[in-house]
Each structure stands twice: as C-alpha cells, then as structure tokens.
C-alpha cells in the first residue's frame, strides 16, 4: 500500500483521542491534539494532513469555531465534525460557517469513520488534482501571453519590415541600394525562419516522448560540427573540442543535439567583435554514469542582473536582432527532459561558461 493517509483528530477528552488512535492507527497515520492551539501546530508542521476530525464541544472553542478558523488558515484538509448533539442550529452553523464536508455522530462506530475517511480522501485528491491542473493551466496561459507578444514582435515584425521595404523599393531606382535592401530583407526572412524552427523545437520538447539510445559523443559532435567549423573559419574563432568517453552513456540524442546546437550557436554568435583571440571550447567527459559538459566562450558576457532570467521563454539579454528568446528556454526544457542540470558563469567582456551535467538513463 502507498503511504498512509495522515489524519488529525482534535478532542478535549484524552480517552476519546486514545480510543480513536487505537482503533485506526494500523490503517492511517493518526495525529491527535487535546486542544486547538496544539491542533494548529500540527497543521502548520504537517501540510500533508488530509482529513481533520474535530469534536464540537470543547472548553475553549467549539468545533465549528475551530473549523471556521482553519478553513482560512489551512484550507486544504477536509473537515469532519464529530458531535453527540444533533440540533438543527449547530448543523446549520457547521455547514455554513465551518464549511464541513461531513458529520459523524458520537459515539462513533469504526465503519462510519472509515467510510468518512474514504470519501474525504477522494474529495481531497480531486481537489489537489484540480489545484495541480489549475497551476498547469495558469502556466500555459502565461506562456500563451508571451506567445502573443512574440508572434507580434518576431513574426509580424520582420513581415512589416519587409512590407515597408517593398513600399520603399517601388520608389527607388538605384540598383546598389536595391541590393543592399534585398540583403537586409533576406536577413529578416532568415530570422523569421529560425524563429519558426525554434518554435517547432519548443513543441517537440513539450510533447515528445524520450527515445533513449546509446550515445557516442564523438559521433554526435561529428554530426553537428561542420556548421560550426564554417562559422569558426569565417569569423576567426578558434573552436576546441575535447571529448573523453570510455563508458556507455544512454540518453535521447534529439534533445542532446538541441542543447549542443543552441549553446554552441550562442557561443559563436555572441563573440566580442573587438576581441583578438576569440575562441569556443567544448569539453565532454563521461564518468560514473554522468556526462559533464562545458561550453566556454570569449564573448561579450551576460550582465549579472540578467543571468537569472536568461532561461525564461522569450527573454533576450541583448538588443541585437539575432535572438528569438527561444534558445535557452529550449535548452532548459531539454535538460528537464533528460534530468540534467545547468550552471552559468559569466564575466562581462570576458566570456561565458555553461556547465552541464546529464545522467545516463
């Protein structure tokens, strides 16, 4: 059986507490409190209490009053009132003020309590499920909002730029100017294309299942290297690769490649143009069922105040047009999928290092 359901029972009669615990402790995790302050302390320290039973007649506070209070301070546990008095007035109060889930008549019999716990637990589970779903929904809405912004900035932006350029092109005759404009239009379109590709990555990461296979890092890097060898030559950036793998590593190659591609393209993209000795260092070491990956660049660096936000969707720490705000978010999602960790160290105008740890699956 899974973990026992945690239950709190509040009553001013020690005998009642003892009897309750004695008959139910095998099936449930029972906490008992002799007064309401003690009960509140239990609730504070045990956020996983699912059901609270309380006696109605207690010296310093009635059960209804206690429920009225914890209904606000500890809204999650399901409230059940135990009472020998069944006058209509107190029932109405219990329902309206204490918002109780059930009523159990004293003296109670075990089967009543067990069925009350069973139903209350179902109710509790449904509620917590709802809370979890609500959180997920809220997160999805937040991302949708960001999407709306991003669609207008990153899709409509380039399109309206190109439309403007076409409007202008209708009026100019100079071929050189025209060519310059075509070049910029091409750049805009390429950016749009990259954006759409990253959006595709975003979706495949959110939805896809893991496809685990044995990873040979030498081969994996061999696959993605050619692109960066070209950039390394044209931009004059030294590209150093150091791979040491002597044991088997299992993971999903698709998110792995995505991580390498995003971090490497950032490392090359955000180089300091003024710097003389530009380099990107990639090192991969597999040991003890873990891959330790370091990607270090001599780039412009990330401002300390931005570091906390760079993994957020659509966050851009640089005004240059090249970023879409997808890249590092996708890296984070990919790492989440692979159960990996990432750390960033950056010094302005000196460079940035990303340290990644991924366990073998």
């Amino acid at each position: 059986m899974a973990e026992k359901i945690k239950i709190l029972y509040v009553d001013d009669e020690p005998d009642n507490l003892f009897g309750f615990k004695a008959s139910l402790r095998f099936d449930y995790h029972i906490l008992t409190a002799i007064n309401t302050p003690q009960a509140i302390a239990f609730l504070d320290n045990n956020p996983d209490i699912r059901v609270v039973f309380c006696d109605q007649r207690m010296p310093e506070k009635t059960g209804v009053e206690f429920f009225e209070q914890i209904r606000i301070s500890h809204p999650h546990p399901v409230r059940i009132l135990l009472t020998a008095y069944t006058d209509v007035e107190s029932i109405i109060d219990a329902i309206n003020k204490g918002n109780i889930y059930r009523y159990v008549k004293k003296p109670w019999i075990e089967s009543d309590i067990i069925s009350a716990i069973f139903e209350a637990n179902k109710f509790y589970m449904a509620n917590s499920m709802l809370a979890v779903k609500n959180d997920e929904l809220q997160k999805a809405y937040d991302e949708l909002n960001k999407f709306a912004y991003s669609v207008s900035h990153d899709i409509r932006g380039p399109l309206s730029g190109i439309l403007g350029a076409i409007n202008l092109a209708c009026e100019i005759d100079d071929v050189e100017e025209m060519k310059e404009m075509l070049f910029l239009m091409g750049k805009s379109l390429k950016k749009l294309d990259t954006y759409i590709l990253s959006m595709h990555d975003y979706y495949s990461l959110q939805r896809g299942e893991l496809n685990v296979s044995e990873i040979d890092f030498n081969r994996l890097i061999e696959d993605i290297k050619p692109l960066y060898t070209v950039i390394s030559k044209t931009d004059n950036v030294t590209f150093n690769i150091d791979i040491s793998q002597d044991s088997v590593f299992r993971s999903d190659p698709v998110p792995l490649k995505l991580i390498f591609n995003n971090l490497l393209s950032n490392a090359f993209k955000y180089q300091d143009k003024k710097s003389i000795a530009k380099s990107v260092d990639l090192s991969i070491e597999v040991r003890e069922n873990k891959a330790l990956i370091n990607i270090t660049d001599t780039g412009i660096g990330i401002l300390g105040s931005h570091i906390g936000e760079i993994f957020n969707l659509f966050y851009r720490a640089n005004f240059q047009e090249v970023g879409s705000g997808f890249g590092l978010y996708n890296v984070k999602s990919a790492l989440l999928k692979l159960n990996g960790q990432i750390e960033v160290n950056s010094v302005m105008h000196q460079g940035t290092t990303f340290k990644i740890t991924i366990p073998s699956i």
Binding site: Y149, P158, A165, S188
Partner: protein, 142 residues
C-alpha cells in the same frame, strides 16, 4: 519639401531602421538622421549630449516592442531627463500595433507631453507625409 528638423530612429530591426532612414532621405538627402537598434544606447547618447542635431529640433521615431528596453520604458526614462535636454525633442511612435499591445499602455504613452502621435508600421509614402506633418506640428506647438 524643406524639412527643418533632424531625426533619431530607434528600432531593434535593422531593416526597419534602414527603410525609415531611406524614406526620409528620399525627401531630402541632406537630412540629419541617426539610427539606433538599442533604446538604451539612444538614451545614453541623448542624455550625454552626444547627438549633434545641427541646432535643429529632433524628432525621435520610436518603436514600441524591443528587447531589454522597450519603447514604453524609453519614454519613461526620457521624461526623467533635464527639461533643457527634453525641449529639443519630440517623439513619434512608429510601431506595429495589435491585440498584444495593451490599450492602457498606449493611452498612457500618449499622455506624455513629449509623445506626439502614433503611426502604425509598415511605413508607406502616405504615412510618411502624415509623419512629417505631425513632426512639423509638434515643433510649432513649442
């Protein structure tokens, strides 16, 4: 057409900067125009007095949706500059407008003294003349 003011264009899109600048220069090729892809940089240059407008009034053409410092923030920061600096400028918003742009933000930005009007991208010849008219009137009210 003679234009007696200079321009600063602030837009993170390289193509947008280029197109707006060319549109303006086609009317008067001696026009003083400078483009910034970063609102931050533009603000620094204006604050520190590094923009030489040739003693002309300057019209700032401002995009709204930009990373790091967007158009709304730029205007807020601009309003904090010395009155002596501010008086040489007026701002016209030149941006995409759509459902993602909060109408309350637009209303707020238009309530600033220095913000003259909004023109929706993409820029066309007709909109350009409208823009110049608005720029002209922004100087005349001073």
């Amino acid at each position: 057409m003679s234009i007696n003011f200079s321009f600063i264009i602030i837009d993170d899109g390289e193509l947008d900067c280029y197109v707006t600048q060319k549109f303006l220069e086609r009317i008067d090729k001696n026009l003083l125009v400078r483009t910034f892809q970063s609102a931050h940089q533009a603000l620094d240059v204006i604050r520190d007095g590094y923009w030489d407008s040739g003693s002309l009034h300057t019209v700032i053409l401002l995009d709204l949706q930009m990373p790091l410092m967007n158009g709304f923030r730029f205007v807020e920061e601009f309003e904090k500059l010395d009155a002596e600096v501010q008086k040489n400028y007026s701002i016209i918003i030149l941006s995409i407008l759509n459902s993602a742009t909060n109408p309350a933000d637009i209303a707020r930005i238009l309530s600033y003294d220095k913000v003259n009007s909004i023109i929706e991208k993409p820029l066309t010849r007709e909109k350009l003349f409208l823009l110049l008219q608005k720029a002209e009137s922004s100087i005349n009210v001073l």
